[in-house]
């Protein structure tokens, strides 16, 4: 294949497919064993400083915020983050000094709520480096290549743009059509955390609603921890095996964390907490505000259940449940009406 153009960015998270096969043989267990543990232990055991890290979900939806707060509490450092539409998750980690390098599809923003003061301040001030650019589909297909055990996946995105020039993709002449095609290198993150609706103690997991890219990301991950709304009996999983999105042998740890995606949206269970988001967006305008937020919601508590009490407990969660069911009016203090 004739090489037409190559992106100039550092290639992150890539391994030779044979090296990855060997790594899987040596490190992934096919044993059905009980993997339940506390999130504190799971993060402490499976996340290393300097890791390339990716988070499941998408934007403010089904993100394992419990993991984000735990990583922050453990003061992990020098992480590189896969910002595959990373918003509140990466914002907290950047603000807390855990992440200093990013591969960006979408970051430093809060979707409709506006740009992210903390993330932008860090990049514009040089505290965080953007190592590589990519598109959303591009990231997705990097994980898909990894999930298939391939070195790359050919696609028709990013062609002709600076997004490609600042990525690690390459453009070659497709030997079948003769047209230029973009090859996206596989991406195997060192550490991935995904929040799911339910799984059994072995890690067989179901997700309600869109799966985004988590089916692929789970296979691409070298170390994978699940946080789950609920640990269910194995028989519940085996009754409807077509619903399993992530099978047990991909999973290193299972942590039961009810409401573990708050303040993000957990499809079918609770909507995003826009009052809490507004508080973060206001506080994160200054470094003092960031510290105030982290002290209040992360460092003053031992675990996520204490955090849920702080943000309003069952009363708040009941409102978010009704909001999710479109039975309560939206309260979004960041809306500038009029």
């Amino acid at each position: 294949m004739k090489l037409i153009e190559g992106g100039r960015a550092e290639l992150l998270g890539w391994h030779d497919p044979d090296e990855q096969r060997e790594w899987i043989r040596m490190n992934k267990s096919l044993a059905l064993k009980d993997k339940r543990t506390s999130l504190k232990e799971a993060v402490s055991k499976f996340l290393k400083d300097g890791d390339y890290v990716a988070s499941g979900g998408f934007g403010h939806v089904r993100v394992s915020m419990a993991s984000i707060y735990e990583i922050t509490r453990q003061k992990r450092r020098n992480l590189t983050f896969a910002a595959k539409t990373a918003v509140h998750d990466i914002d907290i980690l950047i603000a807390a000094g855990c992440v200093d390098k990013v591969e960006v599809a979408y970051s430093f923003g809060h979707e409709l709520r506006g740009l992210s003061p903390a993330g932008r301040r860090a990049v514009e001030g040089g505290k965080v480096k953007v190592l590589s650019e990519i598109s959303n589909a591009g990231f997705q297909w990097r994980f898909k290549a990894a999930a298939m055990g391939l070195p790359f996946l050919p696609t028709r995105v990013m062609l002709g743009t600076d997004t490609l020039r600042f990525s690690s993709a390459k453009v070659v002449e497709d030997p079948f059509s003769g047209k230029p095609i973009c090859l996206l290198p596989a991406c195997y993150p060192d550490f991935v955390f995904i929040h799911v609706h339910r799984c059994d103690k072995y890690g067989n997991a179901q997700i309600d609603g869109i799966t985004v890219e988590d089916s692929e990301l789970a296979r691409a991950a070298r170390r994978l921890i699940l946080t789950t709304e609920q640990v269910v009996d194995e028989e519940e999983i085996r009754r409807e095996p077509n619903r399993t999105i992530i099978p047990f042998y991909l999973v290193n740890a299972v942590c039961e964390v009810p409401y573990g995606s708050h303040p993000c949206n957990m499809p079918g269970l609770y909507y995003s907490d826009e009052e809490h988001m507004a508080e973060w967006l206001t506080l994160s305008r200054t470094e003092e505000g960031v510290q105030e937020y982290l002290d209040r919601y992360v460092f003053s508590v031992d675990d996520f259940s204490e955090y849920i009490e702080l943000v309003g407990g069952e009363k708040k969660m009941d409102y978010l449940r009704r909001l999710e069911a479109v039975e309560a009016p939206l309260k979004a203090p960041w809306v500038r009406r009029g």
């Binding site: 403010h60 939806v61 430093f108 409709l112 062609l159 230029p180 869109i210 995003s272």
Partner: protein, 253 residues
């Protein structure tokens, strides 16, 4: 009847969707336009959301591009791979884009203002924009018309328009018969000249003038002999937007 620029842009965009069979949307203005089109003239317009929602009956504006509203009574809750593959297969007629900067060929910047290594302003990046701009048949760009945003040369080319002009998309390997179709701003509606692929003015909004457009465009825009005036929003359009589609004022303010 009074209306603001956001409401006008939503109405104009929704009219353009007439006749299209499918649209890939994010949230914000595009979703207003799409919901309005479904209620007024295109009830069967098939909506795709990049994170996996296909064919929802959207009860209210999603705040996040993948939130529960994007799969409410949908025909399928799929994945990003699934939706983006459908776009790559050619199933999607329209795609919406926004940008901080646009050039005469409809190329867009949503990544950075200033040098990439030392940004003056860091923007969110491509997100799904590059994918939408690469794979949808026709893209509709919604943005604010200002000289600093309509520039001869972008600081960073995030999403492909017609790149350097006629034939450039095809030479780069992008799918045939794709590219930017309309640019809607607070001043008017622009299209692209079929020969040169450069931006041309199609219509100006009520209250705006051709001079306003020229003054707020940092490159030479093609001014055809006939430039029409945009039809203002109708009472029905405004009522639907304000009372049913965005009652909280998340997008329309």
């Amino acid at each position: 009847m009074d209306y603001n620029a956001t409401e006008l842009m939503a109405c104009v965009a929704s009219r353009i969707l007439k006749g299209g069979e499918s649209v890939l949307v994010g949230t914000g203005l595009p979703i207003l336009a799409t919901m309005l089109a479904q209620r007024l003239h295109s009830p069967n317009l098939l909506v795709f959301f990049e994170a996996g929602g296909i064919g929802p009956r959207i009860p209210m504006i999603p705040i996040s591009v993948g939130d529960s509203r994007t799969v409410h009574k949908a025909v399928m809750a799929a994945s990003m791979d699934y939706v983006m593959s459908c776009a790559q297969l050619g199933f999607i007629d329209f795609g919406f884009l926004g940008a901080a900067q646009i050039d005469p060929y409809g190329n867009l910047n949503t990544t950075v203002i200033g040098p990439h290594s030392n940004p003056k302003t860091r923007l969110p990046g491509s997100g799904g924009a590059n994918d939408v701009g690469s794979l949808c048949r026709r893209t509709i760009i919604l943005m604010h018309h200002e000289r600093r945003r309509f520039v001869e040369k972008l600081d960073f080319l995030t999403t492909p328009g017609y790149l350097t002009g006629p034939g450039a998309r095809e030479r780069a390997g992008l799918p045939l018969r794709t590219g930017p179709y309309r640019v809607i701003t607070q001043l008017g509606v622009m299209g692209f000249d079929s020969c040169s692929k450069r931006m041309k003015l199609i219509s100006i909004h009520p209250g705006a003038t051709v001079d306003d457009v020229v003054e707020n465009t940092g490159f030479e825009i093609i001014l055809p002999d006939e430039i029409s005036e945009t039809e203002p929003p109708t009472e029905v359009e405004l009522r639907l937007l304000r009372e049913e589609i965005d009652p909280v004022g998340i997008v329309i303010g």
